[in-house]
């Protein structure tokens, strides 16, 4: 069963490499934010699968934390680019 986790992990790492092209060369800031959001999503799944590969499944706590951080970071950057400032009174 470890082999299937290993193959899934290698596939996800390959897709992270594909998406990092758009994060580096993408025209404009919005393509880069979208690529960073996608890379964050794939990193959550890669953390869970890595925990099962190393037989240490408590990596899931880190994955839960990282999903919340990824969501909040994306929302804050989108709102900042939309308004031009963060705290409007």
């Amino acid at each position: 069963m470890i082999e299937s986790f290993l193959i899934i992990g290698i596939i996800i790492a390959g897709t992270i490499l594909l998406c990092s092209y758009r994060a580096v060369y993408g025209p404009g800031i919005f393509n880069r934010i979208a690529a960073a959001n996608v890379i964050g999503t794939k990193a959550i799944v890669l953390l869970v699968v890595t925990g099962y590969i190393f037989e240490r499944p408590h990596f899931i706590d880190i994955a839960l934390m990282y999903s919340i951080l990824n969501f909040i970071g994306t929302i804050i950057i989108a709102k900042y680019l939309e308004r031009g400032e963060l705290c409007t009174s």
Partner: protein, 104 residues
């Protein structure tokens, strides 16, 4: 036990297929909005399917509940983040791609 391994591997394989589809859409599609159309759906579905495969492999324990929390949170958070980025781009003035334009 053997059947559970096969079912969880099947779920994770379908999830990996959706993740590859999202990555190819992010690379190949011609515009910002179409790229978000590809990634916003494929990544949500792929992530939830891979974590569902891990839940089936794990059985009933505390880790299953944590995996369910990760999947359920992302099922809300992913489309919300995609909508926030897309609304920010629309308000800022990114033009949608029409047929015959150059690829941006």
């Amino acid at each position: 036990m053997y059947v559970i391994d096969i079912i969880s591997t099947l779920f994770m394989a379908i999830g990996a297929f959706f993740m590859i589809t999202g990555a190819l859409g992010l690379l190949r599609l011609p515009d910002f909005y179409t790229r978000l159309h590809a990634t916003g759906k494929c990544d949500t579905l792929g992530e939830v399917l891979i974590i569902a495969g891990c839940m089936i492999y794990e059985g009933w324990s505390l880790l299953t509940i944590k995996l369910f929390l990760v999947a359920a949170f992302y099922l809300f958070a992913g489309p919300t983040a995609t909508h926030a980025i897309m609304k920010a781009a629309y308000v800022t003035g990114v033009k949608p791609w029409k047929k015959g334009d150059d690829r941006v």
